[in-house]
Symmetry: C2
Subunit: 437 residues, 2 copies
């Protein structure tokens, strides 16, 4: 029951578009049916998916083995290979995650607010599914299960487009989902997959505004840019984090080291990791040698601006430090590299973040309440931290129960998106045969 998009070779443009349009129509129809299912029914569907994932273990691992063989033959890096890999344990984890989503509260149907209007009409703002989501992602096959589970929980249909390296794994997972949906009487078109490698289909998906209500890209900067430029559908952009920690004059320097290490080293390749440390001039001479020593121990290479570079060279003999180039403070390093710069005060730190940040996650380390307040007021990143690691900007850490994506745009959702962020609302107005005066 996987939706097969005809291979594009030799097919006229209109035929492809037609096919994607039919997927869109089916997704829209499925979304209308989905919206009427109760929370119990949606949870039963999720549990059925979890069960079938484990039942079909052998099929899923066989499909993944084919993907792995192909990826190895194409010489993918071992880090990338690890992201593609499914093991028995990982499939069990996917099933467990799906059961966890079933256990989360369902946001759909609640009245967000409600009032009695002066003329006696009852007005409510009621939470409803968004409708049809389009999700474009790369590499990891677990995203397929993840997004499908969160979409179903919130009553949304979804059209998925994964990377070509994991096509067979993704198809096996989507077949598993669709089998489970069919078994519990849900529309199988609630979760569809675009299985053609033709990149033109991504652009077509981005312009399918008659049927798709929201696009979520999960990937690098190039994918986000493509979506922003090509989509006629609202796009949730984010995931790019040039993140900062500012060590203020009054900071606890030893604990600052722990926070910086956590923010840079714990998972270097994620978007909420710290890319640049700004150090108040008054503590630079004391702090930079400590930082150099700690970063050397963590195998972090530093890119330091002028004065910081000189200080580190002179007073942190073990540190690996290069002088920062002109674009180094605009980098999301995704690696064990850290920018370092001395600033005069909190205002200069704020200005640096304005000039170089991506409004993802930024923090101040301080014991001065005025500076903490000023920093929190001025910095409008999706999450702003005082005396905490940027690594906390995460749906799980924030207690949202699930994370669909991390948004750095201003509309609809900011920071970690949980289940509520996969919903919208409608106004429901119950009158008594009222006309507007």
């Amino acid at each position: 029951m996987v939706m097969v998009v005809e291979k594009t070779v030799g097919l006229p443009q209109s035929k492809q578009t037609g096919t994607l349009e039919r997927m869109g129509q089916r997704a829209r129809a499925a979304s209308r049916r989905l919206a009427a299912f109760s929370t119990d029914a949606k949870n039963a569907a999720l549990l059925a998916i979890a069960e079938r994932l484990e039942e079909r273990m052998a099929t899923i691992l066989a499909a993944n083995a084919q993907d792995m063989a192909g990826a190895e033959a194409r010489g993918l890096s071992s880090a990338l290979l690890d992201r593609l890999l499914l093991t028995e344990a990982r499939v069990h984890a996917l099933a467990a995650d799906t059961r966890k989503v079933a256990a989360l509260p369902d946001p759909v149907g609640a009245d967000i607010e409600s009032r009695l209007l002066p003329n006696g009409m009852r007005l409510s703002k009621r939470r409803i599914p968004i409708g049809v989501l389009g999700v474009i992602y790369e590499a990891r096959p677990n995203v397929t299960i993840d997004i499908a589970a969160l979409s179903l929980k919130t009553g949304n249909a979804v059209i998925l487009r994964g990377g070509s390296e994991t096509l067979r794994s993704n198809l096996a997972l989507v077949e598993t989902i669709q089998d489970a949906l069919e078994a519990v009487g849900f529309p199988v078109d609630a979760v569809q997959y675009i299985d053609s490698p033709d990149r033109a289909l991504v652009t077509q998906l981005l312009r399918l505004d008659a049927y798709v209500d929201m696009i979520i890209p999960r990937g690098g900067a190039a994918l986000h840019k493509l979506c922003r430029e090509q989509a006629t559908i609202p796009v949730i952009t984010g995931g790019i984090g040039v993140c900062h920690l500012f060590v203020d004059e009054s900071a606890d320097l030893v604990r600052s080291l722990d926070i910086i290490e956590n923010a840079r080293v714990q998972r270097p390749s994620v978007c909420n990791s710290c890319d640049t440390v700004l150090v108040h001039r008054a503590v630079a001479r004391q702090f930079l040698p400590m930082l150099g020593e700690r970063m050397a121990r963590c195998k972090v290479e530093m890119r330091a601006a002028g004065e910081a570079f000189a200080l580190l060279r002179e007073h942190a003999p073990g540190a690996v430090v290069l002088e920062a180039g002109p674009d180094d403070f605009d980098q999301e390093w995704m690696a064990l590299i850290l920018g370092v710069k001395i600033v005069d005060n909190v205002e200069e730190a704020i200005q640096h973040i304005y000039d170089h940040g991506s409004e993802h996650s930024d923090g101040i380390l301080t014991n001065n309440i005025a500076n903490a307040n000023r920093f929190v007021e001025a910095i409008n990143s999706s999450a702003v931290f005082v005396n905490a690691s940027t690594r906390f900007n995460d749906g799980g850490q924030f207690g949202l129960g699930a994370e669909v994506a991390v948004s750095t745009q201003k509309l609809h959702a900011r920071g970690p998106m949980g289940l509520e962020e996969l919903t919208t609302y409608k106004w429901v107005c119950i009158g008594n045969w009222d006309v507007r005066p």
Copy 2:
């Protein structure tokens, strides 16, 4: 102090873009300053604008007289001329509206939610301004004051682009605003106006994503389509309403007539007016003659599908009725025209709205609670009505205090957008030197 974009004739492309980019930079800088002003300071700025509007009455009316002369010379319709016209009374009304915005509660700064995380960190979701808005609008000069006031109240900077017919009026109004801002120590770049008639600047504004956070088009379908297709910035689309009322079997027929008259006739050219009436087959023979008589009295022309057409022709001798053409049910009439169709039941009414509606405002007229519930569940328009006129889908009627636009998209805001919808949020996380485990 009005920002003058150089005339485009003879200027290279890069020069124009550069100018718009500088406007964007200044707007971004202004928005950062604006965000720090207190509610009292923002209200003082609004009151200063109101005062200056009345002080500069003669200048504003003189500028408008020039626009009116130009528009008359170009043969604009009297309806359009009336929309362009400013009178002494209308300028006083603009000042009064600005004072009203000052009196509204300021949504900025409130913690929308707040929790203590298990590790002791204090997490809040804090309401903040969006940043820089881009607003593209047509005809009426009052939008200039309206949008500027709502933007300032919520701490947003705004770049305005009005229609060429009202250029002089708009420039006089923006100068007035900027004078007032300067007088109270606000950044004048908080409200900027693109005064070149070059249409290419609209497209450039739509792609100024480095500086502009949200685009609000206020105009017809073509403008909304242009924005959706060209913008790399999130766009609030809406304003197009193909709106329905379904007269169910159990409806109070006399009161239904009043609601239909209100919804169609009160202001025919607005987006929440009713375009199509769907009538339950069981009451069609009784109701259609009543409807034909009432619509004839209101000078409404009907476009009726097959059976409804036959019934009206036979039993509503005074009615002006044409047989509906193939696209007539997809029209937003904006005029005294009403589509009429007989349906078998609530399900067929719902399907018609799915096929022809624009998810703006739709209602059911019924005394049957099951059908009312089914309709409200199935129809996901921005506002769904039971026994009330679609004309109520309005910020003022809903008690929002102000209306920026009516959104029919799924993300960020739906239906009437008030002050809250000009804000976003950031997560503020106060730790105690915490690292993520």
